[in-house]
Structures are given as C-alpha cells and as structure tokens.
C-alpha cells in the first residue's frame, strides 16, 4: 500500500526533479511526504554516480564524434547534463543547478569567443576530477553548491572564471572601474531592481576592482588555465559608501583599506548583500515562481516565511528548500500543474514518461533550441524569459514536433508495452493505458474524446503490430504535444 498518493509523488518530482521514472515512482510512493522531502533535500547521502552510467546499456544514449569530452566540448556537456536530469537519483540537485544556472545566467558563447571553444566548455562544464588543471567549471561549482550557503555561492560566483569573463571582471581596473558585475550582482543576483541606486553601482564597481583573472604556468601545458586572482595593484582603495547596510551594525561604508587587504571589500559587500532583507524576499519570490506556482500573484505569506528561514538559517539553501517543499502552498492542490514547463523540463519529463531505450539525448538538442532553451546559453544575464514567454507559436510547434520525433523513435517499444500490458485489443484499452502512463494537467472530456476519435480513424481496429505501432506513436504524439502536458 503506497504511503503517498501517486499524484502527490508526481507533483513533488515534477517540481523538485524532472518528472518520475517508473523506478522513482515506486521508490517514492512507499515513503511519507516528509521522508520523500528528506531524501530529495539530503541528496548528498546518496552516491553521486550518475555520470558513470553514461554509455551503459539500459540508459539513454549520447552521440559523439570521437571521445565523449564534456570537459572541453559544449555539445557533449549539454548531453551530459540532460543525461543527469534523466537518470540521476539526486533530482533536486540537478533542479537546483538549473535554477542557479538561470539565476547566475552565464552564456558559453562569450567565454568561447574570448578563450576558444574548448576553453569555453572547460570553464562552463569541466569537473575538477576530469580536468588536467583541476578546473571546476561554473555549472559544476553550482552543482556542488546547489543547496549550499547563499553567501558562499555569491563568493564562488564572484570568483568564477566564466563569470569574470561574462561580466567583464577581468578588466575591472582601478583607473576606470567596470560596472557590469557590480550592477548585476545587486540587480539580478541579490537585491533585485529598485533596491539600489546609481551611486551604489559606482561603489560596487570600485569594490570589485582587481578581481581579475590570471593564467600562470607554461604555455602549452594542459594544466595551465585561467583562474581568479585578487590583484592589489588594480584595486581602488578608498572608502565606498552604499545606500544600504553593509555591516550588521548598520554601517554603510566599506572603509579605505591598504591595497594588500582590499579583497575584503568584496567579501564585505557580499556579506551585506546576503544579509539584506531584499535579497531574502527576492530569492523567496523567485523560488515561489519556480517551485510552487506561476499562476496568480506571488504568495506573500510564503515569501515572508521563506525569507525568514533564509535569514534565520544564515542563508542555508537546504533549510530554505526544505521549507519550500513542505510548505502548505506547495501542497495546495491549486499549485498542481500551475507552472509552464521549461523546455528542458518538458523534454526530460517526456523521456521519463515515454521511454528512452534507443534514444540519444543528442537528438533533443536541436528541438530544445527551437523551443527556446539552450543549456549553457541563456539569452542574457537575466536568464530565460519564462512562463508564457516559452509559448510562442514557433516554440509550441517545436514542442509538438519533439513529441512526434520521440514517439516515432519509441514506436516499437510503445507497441510492445501495449501488448505486454494486454491493452492492444481495443482503442479504449490503449487510451486507458497511455492515460495512466502519461499524466497531464486535468484534461477535459472533449480532449479525451478527440484521442479516442483519432484511434478510431482510418478503418477498423485489428490490433496488428503495424497498427499498434502507428496508433501508439500517434496517440503519444498527441498527448505529449497537448497543451495540458506543457504544464508541470
């Protein structure tokens, strides 16, 4: 007897993960809700072994020309991340990594344009264990800190090689400070627009002067790489005053410091930003939109409570996410399917629902681009335009066409599954079977009737293999391409 209803497990895994594989469904339905949330949030108690499954039978495939090299080839890196989303046993870690990728949105192209394609992939996606110079790419940094301390995440982001290229910190010198990072760390990464002044932008730019890159070592040595350096000669040492509190005592001025110790300016500012109530509320509202609901206004009670947990816990994202996933707002039935699926959520969930045997995740990359989401390539530093913006007609068509190609790819598996389940004898039995497999937001009876009409079209039901393959793939195409399936 399941302890948690399937529809609840599915809701939890659509939000805290990328949908439910059959094995995930059977695992989670035996748990209570709080056990399930514990398992998701305390994912580091499970071994992080998803990457060793790549290339093994029974899992989705990858397509590479030569050696699979996600540490230096961005297409391989994209495949690895999709593979992780599909096959990981730590779904919340991947989901939070995606959340942070959108929050600290950094685009591969600028890094590749600056240092070359292989280096661009390296600073975005390399795991330190696979890189000769132990480079940890930005996504790996975010993945390792997915439920870490937000202040520490900000510090890591400020020192991240890809970020320092992306927002031009590498040329932030004292003579003429460079405002890009100083502005965005306040506007997009912490306080939110409207909570700082132009004078704060100038001051923040000066704070981060000298937060540059260095590339020591011998040219041609594969261990050589760019990394963060605090360059005291390029740090502007005078005092910096903000319009908001930097220090716990309310002090707004970062004191003048000798150049050698000037890196502390940046740490002080980050501490101030992490502790700012606007940051707490900005993050809480963003988490509400991502994990709870996009429909209607942001729930103020939720924001107050989650912001409070953020501040009380000393910015501990694990405590924050536990609060989010156990919140009454999250479990309110009105929150079920009250979000528009991001393209990667849609694609991975469809793979979990329809099947992946014989499917290469590489084949999802072009469709994802047509749907408007290329991993490692958000459109700008504000991340993707989400919600209804995902649903331009062209993008909707791309979703329907992805459903078509996946259904076509899985045609034989689908027909076999129908036969094994003994549900190929009538159109109604097949419809009921797929209705169970492919769960969507509630579908009006008129839609179910259209599915049924489709199964009855083009002559009598014979139940032959050819007919089962055609009808199973056609029906799955229509279901996964339906508007209701676009909600998570």
């Amino acid at each position: 007897m399941a302890k948690t209803e399937d529809r609840q497990v599915e809701h939890l895994l659509r939000r805290a993960g990328f949908g439910a594989r059959p094995d995930e469904l059977s695992l989670f339905r035996e748990m209570s809700i709080s056990q399930a949330v514990d398992l998701l949030v305390n994912y580091d108690e499970l071994v992080d072994d998803v990457d060793i499954l790549i290339g093994k039978p029974g899992y989705a495939g990858t397509t590479v020309n030569g050696v699979f090299s996600p540490q230096s080839n961005i297409t391989h890196a994209r495949q690895r991340w999709l593979f992780r989303m599909l096959h990981t046993n730590r779904p919340l870690q991947e989901k939070m990594t995606l959340f942070w990728h959108n929050h600290f949105a950094t685009g591969y192209n600028k890094i590749a344009g600056t240092f070359g394609a292989a280096e661009g992939a390296r600073y975005m996606a390399a795991k330190s264990s696979e890189d000769p110079g132990k480079v940890r790419g930005q996504i790996e940094m975010l993945r390792e800190n997915a439920l870490g301390n937000f202040r520490d995440i900000l510090v890591n982001v400020a020192k991240d090689t890809a970020m320092i290229v992306w927002l031009d910190g590498r040329t932030n010198f004292k003579a003429q400070p460079q405002e890009n990072f100083g502005r965005e760390i306040m506007e997009l990464f912490s306080l939110g627009v409207g909570n700082y002044t132009e004078a704060d932008v100038y001051a923040a730019a000066r704070v981060f002067t000298g937060w540059n890159l260095t590339r020591p070592g011998v040219s041609g040595d594969p261990t050589q790489h760019y990394e963060f350096i605090y360059n005291p000669n390029q740090h502007e040492t005078s005092a910096k005053t903000f319009s908001f509190a930097i220090y716990p005592d309310g002090g707004k001025t970062i004191p003048a410091r000798a150049a050698a110790g000037g890196m502390q300016d940046g740490i002080d500012l980050i501490n101030g930003l992490a502790a700012h109530p606007s940051t707490a509320r900005y993050l809480a509202a963003k988490l509400y939109r991502f994990f709870v609901s996009e429909f209607g206004a942001v729930n103020v009670t939720f924001v107050n409570r989650v912001a409070n947990v953020y501040l009380q816990s000393g910015y501990d994202m694990r405590a924050v996410m536990r609060e989010v996933l156990l919140s009454p707002e999250f479990w309110d039935p009105s929150a079920y399917f009250a979000r528009y699926a991001w393209p990667v959520e849609y694609v991975v969930r469809a793979l979990k629902d329809v099947g992946w045997t014989g499917y290469s995740v590489n084949d999802a990359l072009t469709p994802l681009s047509n749907m408007g989401q290329i991993l490692f390539e958000p459109p700008d530093v504000a991340g993707w335009d989400t919600g209804q913006s995902w649903f331009s007609t062209g993008a909707m068509l791309a979703r329907m066409n992805f459903a078509s190609s996946l259904a076509g790819n899985q045609k034989f598996n689908l027909a076999n599954a129908v036969k094994t389940a003994g549900t190929g004898k009538t159109p109604e039995a097949m419809l009921a079977y797929f209705g169970d497999q492919i769960v969507t937001a509630p579908q009006d009876s008129r839609i179910t009737a259209e599915f049924n009409n489709y199964l009855h079209a083009n002559g009598a039901w014979t139940g032959t293999d050819a007919q089962l393959q055609a009808k199973a793939s056609g029906l799955v195409h229509l279901m996964v391409g339906s508007p209701e399936y676009q909600l998570v």
């Binding site: 590498r170 040329t171 890009n180 919600g387 913006s389 062209g394 056609g474």
Partner: protein, 421 residues
C-alpha cells in the same frame, strides 16, 4: 516583469475563441488586407546601443578626450552633415549602406531619445521601451495594444515575431503573435505517414479548438497551438520566397529576408519584430578595427538593412514599409578601463522607409564634462534625453499606422518638428 505576462491573459481568452475563425476565411481577410498595406518593422538592438559610436559627433573635443581608444577619428567617419544645432555628425565607417539610404532621403535618426530618470537596467529598460510606460513597465506592449485595437476578427498572422520568444513590445491581451524564426522549419511533424499522419494533424487541430475558457493560463497554450496550426500553410508560402538579391547569412539578415518574403507573398502580416544583439559592449568594444566588436555590430546592421532596403525597392514594397529601431539605453560617455562603455541613458533611434523624410532630428549632445551641461545628466556622465521616445512612437502611430497615439500611449506625446513620416 513575469507577473505581467499573466495579467494580460485574464479575460483575453473569450476573444481568442472569436478571433480564430476558420483558416479559409482568414485567407480571404488577408487578401482583402493584402496589397499596399502599411507594414511596420520593429528593430531591437539588444544590449544598449552606443549611439555615440553609430553617429559620432566627431568634432566635439570631449568626444575624443573622453574616449581615447573608442572615438572614431574624424577622418574616418562618413559625414552626413550637421544637425539643427550645427553639430557635424558622421556615420560609423562601416555604415556605408546606411549612408546610401540616408543620401536617398529614406533614413532618419532621432537623436537623444529617452525619458526622465532613464533606467540603466537592461531588463527594466526593455520593459519601459516596450510598454512605453516608464512608471509601470509591467503592462502590455505598445505594439500589442495597437494590435488589440484592430477591428475583430484579427488575422492570427497579423504580427510576425522572428525570434524564439514573445518580446514584451508585442504582448497583447487578445492578439497572439506567432514566432517564426525560420519559415522553412514551420511545419507539423508526425511519427506516421499518409492517412495516419493526416488523422493526427486533424486531431491536433480539433484538440486546439477546445479552448478551456475557464482556465486562462492553460488557454494561453491553446491559443499558441491554435495560432501555430492555423498559420502553417500560409507561412509555407513564405519559405518559397525568392528575393531579388542575396541577404547576409546573419540572424538579422535572414529575419529581414523572411519579412520581405511575407510582404511579397501578401500573407496579411502588418507588424514584424526583428532583432540583433551584442550591443552590451562593456569591454573590448573595439569600434575602429576591422572585425572589432562594435565594428562587427555595425557590419551586421548595415548589411542586413541595406539588403532589405534594396530588395523591397526592387519588389516595389519600399513605400509600404517603415522600420523603427530601439535599444534599452545608450552608454556612458566616458569609456571604462576595459576599453568599453557601461550602461548609460539617452541614445539615437533609427527610422527607415520609402515614405520617410530622412535626415537628422533633434540635436546632438555636447559632451563637455561640466556638471551643469544641460545636454548631459548624472554629473555629465550620461546623455540626457531631448526627445521623449514616446514622441517617436506617437509619430509612428499617428503618421503611419493611422491609429490614435493619445489613446495607445495614454497621453499626448505628439511633438512638432518630428515629422519623419
């Protein structure tokens, strides 16, 4: 800004069901609207265009002193004369095509456009330019409001967005605008063939017709699905368009090629949205070197717009077309330590078309660092606006679209002397 996208759906779905009549009827409508309509092309220069590098005031001594590595040398600008304040202006050296169009009198620049307390945020800035409302930038787009004002039933192809996601400027309450980045890829796939594939397509069409009016968020997805399916066949005709000349392979070039194709095939579209990005030039802006960052931005702009202009001219469509550019802000006057420029304030807008009264509108800023310099703001760090951007929109709305700018912009922004159309 995310909340807004939800707001506009409320109450909009009833209109969707009425709006999407049968495709046959819409084709008739498109034909009726067909020849010699007025087309508007919105061109968004993404990232904040440094218009001081696009049309440099090359004789201003502060232009050179404040931009030691970025100023275009006076000897290299393409001179286009002086504005009403007698400031000599030139075009960036790579804009040779725009210079031709300027000389043919079909290109205008409106200098120093912006608004009070201009936002230096990309995202708030885009929202403000999109809604034409600096005080509440979370509403519908100004072009979206125009589309909503058209008499019903509105053709689902009335607008065409050449990018992947719906730009804020096109957000309407009940006029969904299709996104078609590549007409050739705009088709309905099926895992089956023949009669089975046809059955899937007709099932998809029927499903999309059952719009759940009581669930507006879901109904929005139905609206997109319906609009996609209703426009497939007409868009396919655009894929067959053979232009009179070769377009550049850039995203902007290909987007403008599709726009010209849609006009040529007379599929009923009135408003187009195209964009080219990369203008957020915080570092290594490299205005002058061949293949420098800003130089390349100008190359992309110049080559695509020139091809579009000449193609339209050859097709006899130039008089039916108006192109209006915007960007979220201009850039700081003084270059930063990274040989780039940070977020600034007012900048220049570009207007092009067969009916445009070309030339220089408004006056150039005086770049003197005197904090009391009236053409600058923020202690003379940024260019102060002279023409409210809504005055440019008002001229487009009243003078080209034949609509009422006071109604669409929520106020009278008409400005005399701004008769570029």
């Amino acid at each position: 800004m995310k909340v807004t996208r939800r707001q506009f759906v409320k109450g909009g779905m009833a209109a969707f069901t009425v709006t999407f009549a049968a495709p046959e009827f819409l084709s008739d409508l498109a034909q009726a609207q067909g020849a010699h309509t007025r087309n508007l092309v919105i061109l968004y220069l993404g990232g904040g265009n440094d218009s001081l590098s696009m049309i440099p005031p090359f004789n201003d001594p502060f232009y050179t002193s404040r931009r030691p590595t970025l100023a275009v040398p006076a000897g290299q600008v393409l001179q286009i004369g002086t504005d009403s304040s007698k400031v000599a202006l030139g075009l960036h050296p790579r804009l040779t095509g725009l210079k031709q169009i300027f000389e043919q009198g079909r290109l205008a620049f409106v200098q120093r456009t912006g608004y009070p307390n201009q936002s230096r945020s990309h995202f708030q800035g885009v929202d403000i330019w999109s809604t034409a409302d600096p005080l509440n930038s979370s509403g519908l787009g100004w072009v979206g409001r125009y589309l909503d004002s058209l008499p019903s039933p509105v053709d689902p192809l009335v607008g065409w967005n050449t990018t992947g996601s719906l730009p804020h400027v096109l957000q309407a309450s009940h006029t969904p605008v299709p996104a078609i980045s590549n007409p050739a890829g705009y088709s309905f796939a099926s895992p089956n063939f023949g009669a089975e594939a046809a059955a899937e397509r007709s099932a998809a069409l029927r499903i999309a017709s059952h719009v759940p009016v009581d669930r507006p968020e879901l109904a929005f997805v139905y609206g997109s699905t319906q609009a996609a399916l209703a426009t497939l066949d007409r868009v396919a005709t655009v894929a067959a368009y053979v232009p009179s000349l070769a377009y550049p392979t850039s995203g902007l070039g290909q987007a403008l090629r599709a726009v010209a194709g849609a006009m040529n095939k007379g599929i009923g579209t009135r408003v187009f949205y195209v964009t080219t990005g990369g203008f957020d030039t915080h570092s290594a802006q490299n205005v002058n070197a061949t293949n420098g960052a800003y130089y390349n931005l100008m190359a992309t702009l110049n080559d695509a717009v020139l091809a579009f202009y000449n193609d339209l001219k050859n097709q006899g469509l130039l008089d039916d077309t108006l192109v209006v550019s915007f960007s979220e802000f201009g850039r700081r006057i003084t270059e930063n330590g990274s040989q780039g420029t940070d977020h600034g304030s007012a900048s220049a807008m570009l207007v092009m078309g067969g009916k445009v009264n070309g030339g220089l509108y408004g006056t150039a800023p005086n770049l003197s660092i005197d904090p009391s310099n009236p053409t600058l703001e923020n202690d003379a760090a940024d260019v102060k606006f002279e023409t409210d951007f809504r005055s440019v929109y008002a001229q487009v709305i009243d003078g080209w679209l034949g609509s009422d700018s006071v109604k669409l912009l929520g106020g009278n922004f008409r400005k005399s002397g701004l008769a570029f159309i």
